[in-house]
Symmetry: C2
């Protein structure tokens, strides 16, 4: 199992998290991970309606901002939400964003 | 008194709010407005360390995202946070961002 580079919890920056979440496709990825837990990039990319390379770009942006963990196992890449780290660093932030994402009217 | 164009509360979009708040200068403006209330653009721009035209660009981005209200009174332009609208539309979001902005370690 190979772990790609990630910022440590203490290095996660608020503005970078907000920027990572401010893209509709990335927000959709985060919502799916929050709902379904760890999954392969391939599964996470289903239903996004973007090319695989675009999805990869978004996974990288989320990883570099400290929002998700990516790990490579053989030919598969798995991603999951850094919910615990984010909740510890910025209490309530992720939950309020996830709640807000359900607002449609 | 002249009110500039603003999105209605129902048209405020989560991803646009997150993008507006993801810039360090804009976040600083929002923190000052949350702390000090309505102020002139000139007063809000103090201590930001950016050119007046850059500050104006940020005020416009915040206004268009639905984060602040701008109004012109004679030669003065006043800005204030749309706290009530944001709290109604996305409960807890602004507070969690403001709390997170105090995290420095």
């Amino acid at each position: 199992m190979r772990l790609l580079p990630h910022p440590s919890k203490e290095d996660i920056q608020l503005t970078e998290v907000l920027r990572a979440l401010s893209d509709p496709v990335r927000l959709e990825i985060v919502i799916r991970l929050a709902t379904l837990g760890e999954m392969t990039c391939s599964a996470a990319g289903d239903h996004l309606g973007v090319h695989k390379s675009t999805a990869s770009h978004h996974y990288r942006a989320l990883r570099q901002a400290g929002v998700i963990v990516s790990k490579q196992e053989g030919r598969l890449k798995f991603i999951s939400l850094r919910r615990h780290d984010l909740d510890e660093r910025f209490p309530g932030l992720l939950d309020s964003v996830l709640s807000a994402s359900h607002v449609t009217t």
